[in-house]
């Protein structure tokens, strides 16, 4: 074996066997994707939080519900989640309200259903890609371990052909195999952290949405 082994990271990666290299490539892609989702999600959630705060402030400042609805309906694609929920509920309520003398509880039920449907959709959008982060966080270490085990197997197989086994014969193989584990952990740790953080944030948003729905239903009931 070559005595002057290139012990830099690149040297180790380029010396690794094809399977280990494929594992490393997969882990690199997973890491890139998960970081991309992490940043996207962070931006989206921050936006959702500020939108929600802004809408709650508007809503509870005692403004006209009709004008709020108009504004929400006009800028639907830019509206925040809470705004959409409000818009869906208010629209349903105003539609059901039209025939005079209709059953009030039926109108309230319709409003609730419309709001909860929008709520589900909003939650779906917010939770989008979180599953990917969870997968990367739980599976990437195993994939890295697989690459490592494979690489170490190779190192020891190469060892079986030489008469005198020295540490310097196995060490490069083990080092390059361990890079796979390192990459797996590198991909997994941020993914797990981000997943926990984001699901916590989303839970808090969901609580806010649900309480808003309850309060809005009360207002509708009082009005109707």
């Amino acid at each position: 074996m070559n005595v002057t082994q290139d012990m830099s990271v690149w040297g180790l990666v380029s010396h690794a066997s094809l399977f280990v290299q494929l594992v490393m490539l997969g882990l690199l892609l997973a890491s890139l994707l998960s970081w991309w989702y992490i940043f996207r999600k962070a931006f989206v959630l921050r936006q959702a939080k500020s939108d929600t705060e802004a809408f709650e402030k508007d809503f509870w400042s005692g403004g006209d519900l009709n004008s709020l609805y108009q504004a929400a309906a006009a800028a639907k694609h830019r509206a925040g989640s809470l705004e959409r929920i409000f818009e869906a509920g208010f629209r349903e309520f105003s539609k059901v309200k039209r025939p005079p003398g209709a059953d009030r509880s039926a109108a309230i039920d319709g409003t609730r259903r419309a709001m909860s449907a929008t709520y589900q959709r909003e939650m779906d959008v917010l939770e989008q890609n979180l599953a990917f982060l969870a997968s990367v966080g739980s599976v990437a270490p195993y994939i890295g371990l697989l690459g490592t085990v494979w690489g170490i197997m190779h190192a020891f197989m190469g060892l079986s052909t030489v008469a005198q086994a020295t540490l310097s014969l196995v060490a490069p193989g083990i080092a390059e195999a361990l890079i796979a584990t390192a990459m797996g952990l590198f991909a997994a740790i941020p993914a797990v952290l981000a997943y926990n953080r984001f699901s916590h944030d989303i839970d808090r948003l969901a609580v806010r949405f649900e309480s808003f729905m309850e309060e809005f239903t009360n207002i509708m009931q009082r009005q109707g």
Binding site: V9, W35, W36, V44, T118
Partner: protein
Amino acid sequence: MSHAAVRQPFQQVREEPKALLAGALALLVHVVAVVALTYGFSIQTQRNEPVSAELWAALPPPAAVAKPVPAPPEPPPKPELRPVPKPPPEPKEVPVKAPPKADIELKAKEAAKAKQAEDERRRLEEAKKREAEKVKAQAQAQAQADAKAQKEALAKQAEADRIRREQEELGRKAAEAAASAQAKLMASHIDKIRAKVRNFIVEPPGVPPKATAEFDVVLIPGGDVLSVKLRRSSGNALYDEAVERAIRRAEPLPIPPEPQLFPQFRTLLLQFRPQE
């Protein structure tokens, strides 16, 4: 309920203005991680080479290593400082041979006239003879001077020869001194080599202590062994083999680091004796 009242879920496509920024940030995170990893590793890869040291009771003096370059022969003794060779003893002026004695008795017997004439003739003859003698003496002197000059030249030549011989002698002595210094150095290095090899010898039992194994060892620069040949067996094949193995295992053999000394260490004759 009118159709317009039904909300289409796909209307919900909403803009996400920061998706591209998020992608750029994700890339940035990886680039930073890779750069940090690369630099972190490259710092750690500067391994310290293990230092090997050998301990010797008597080290060859380092000066001796530099010496083997044969000292420039002493400047040849300047001829003008040499005692000027004594000129050979001046050849004594060879006396001009005395002219033959005039035959006076004859003159007396003869008549005065005849005697006179005879005298006259003789005188003339004598003068002539003298003249001839003179010329001859001159020639002789000339020849003698020539011989003297030649002798002097010969002496000078002999002197020069002597000086040259002396110089040669001196040069040879210097060369001999250098050679002996080198031989000493070589011997000390060979001792080192043998000591190192001896560390690796696993002696088989029952080798007579007087048994000597001789090996011709060919080295390459750096001290690695190119070939080992048994020149004279110790009489014990096991011991021969043990020594040969030891020579191989002892490489690189401790030869002097100076490349100009290597030629003397290219082929070595090493002797080994058990329990030395």
